[in-house]
């Protein structure tokens, strides 16, 4: 299964098996539903703010390895970030996924999200990576 290594990088397999910030927290300022009807992926994302900054993010739900790992990484990466910074990272991730498979990936912006670059070869899976991010972005944009 040489090919699949591009898609299922170790960091993805790891976050899938051991999702971070998983489960419902005691309190949250915003609860967001992320649904991918095509796949039956469905997540709840819990956001707690401190002033304008995301204090912490939790998620729970069911989804494929890509959607789960992506949601898990999201909760890690956005802690302490502003809404704007979150939206920017969402856009950078979306742009990377839409770029052609041979475009170099800017790891300085994407950090561990660069692991998803293999998904560019599998356009049907882009939605999986984006499901949590898009739900968050939709909720944040409404409030801007």
């Amino acid at each position: 299964m040489a090919d699949s290594r591009n898609l299922y990088e170790q960091v993805i397999l790891d976050h899938n098996k051991n999702p971070r910030n998983y489960g419902k927290p005691a309190a949250a300022d915003t609860i967001i539903d992320g649904l991918n009807p095509l796949c039956g992926d469905s997540f709840k994302i819990y956001v707690a703010f401190q002033n304008d900054v995301i204090e912490c993010l939790h998620f729970e739900g069911d989804g494929c390895a890509l959607s789960k790992a992506s949601a898990s990484l999201m909760t890690v990466l956005l802690e302490g970030k502003t809404r704007e910074a979150a939206l920017e990272l969402e856009e950078a991730l979306a742009a990377m996924l839409k770029s052609s498979p041979d475009t170099p990936v800017d790891e300085s912006i994407l950090g561990p999200l660069a692991a998803f670059s293999g998904v560019r070869e599998y356009p049907t899976r882009i939605k999986c990576v984006m499901v949590a991010w898009q739900a968050l972005a939709a909720a944040f944009s409404n409030r801007r």
Binding site: M1, D3, S4, K17, G40, A65, R125, C128
Partner: protein, 401 residues
Amino acid sequence: MQLRNDFPILKQQIRGRPLTYLDNASTTQKPQCVIDAIADYYASENANVHRGIHRLSGAATKRYESARSRLGSFLGANSGYGIVFTRSATEGINLVAHSLGRALLRSGDEVLVTQLEHHSNIVPWQLLCEAAGAKLRVVPINESGELIMGEFDRLLNERTRIVAVAHVSNALGTINPVSEICRKACRQNAATLVDGAQSAAHTAIRLADMGADFFVCSGHKMYGPTGVGVLCGRSEMFERMTPYQSGSDMVHSVTFEKTTFAPPPHKFEAGTPHIAGAFGLCAAVDYLDGIGMEAVERHERELLAYGTQSLAAIPGLRIIGNAKQKAGILSFVMDGAHPHDIAQLLDNEGIAIRSGHLCAQPTMAFFGVPALARVSFGLYNTISEIDALVGALQKVRKTFI
């Protein structure tokens, strides 16, 4: 297997491996004779139907009408039935929901579907019931994925006007007792629609014996082209129904004051139909009858038995849907591996299966799973393909554990 050679796509390599196509419930592959029927029509007979005096048009019209009767004979319809060409099973259901449903349903009436239905046999009824103030009722299933017939008997009552049920569940493979359902519904004066999307290419349909008022299926799931389907229905019902789409070909005469409509089946075929689609589908059912539907069914039953046994032996794999009467569909979940990831890893081995909610979210809800992995057989699949599948699933297991 000799007949694999009839399917050009099966000779193809996916990343250096032969294609193992196990997603036949989604759409089937096409034999060369179907592709040729379409290409030949465009290359040497192309003309519109019902419209012209010239010889190409006359020939196309004649062939289109004979495709219609050919489909009727393939589905075992007797002279009490008519054939309407649709885009798909979905359109056939919409047509009946619109043209029969709106006339028939009154506030307080009921439409009966089952927990096993494909979205296409749910949503049109749901919208119809909403519009009519009628009630959608649902026959529940048991843990094996079988309809609970005692509940059907209880739910069917004098308010039931329409019963819509899948012949074969696309999510679980369950074969429903459609003859019994039609017989009982008929006794209550309820109209019956059997969704044959998953049965028409896998077992011999004897519509006259089945007793359904309507039967729908999709060409692309019958080794035929996309964009064409069949609605077979009782002529006396068709007569009573209002038109569906309107425009040319379904009218008798048109003035701005008053338009009169053509008799069925034309009443239900507005505009230029998918002529090449009808010819391709006709070639597909000729191909199927050439093999023999009994042989097709027997072969797929063998695949199902072998596949069930082989998959059940994989640790952590659980088959969902264990009806006693089952067609060649095997759905399952695996510990630690989401169906999508299973499908993805199998794809890398050249094995195409389906994953997701399978357009049957209510069935998923019943089993408490967000998605399933589904293997579905066609007439060209082989035992060694199942062996390859099992080997690949073992690897999937290792990746996610």
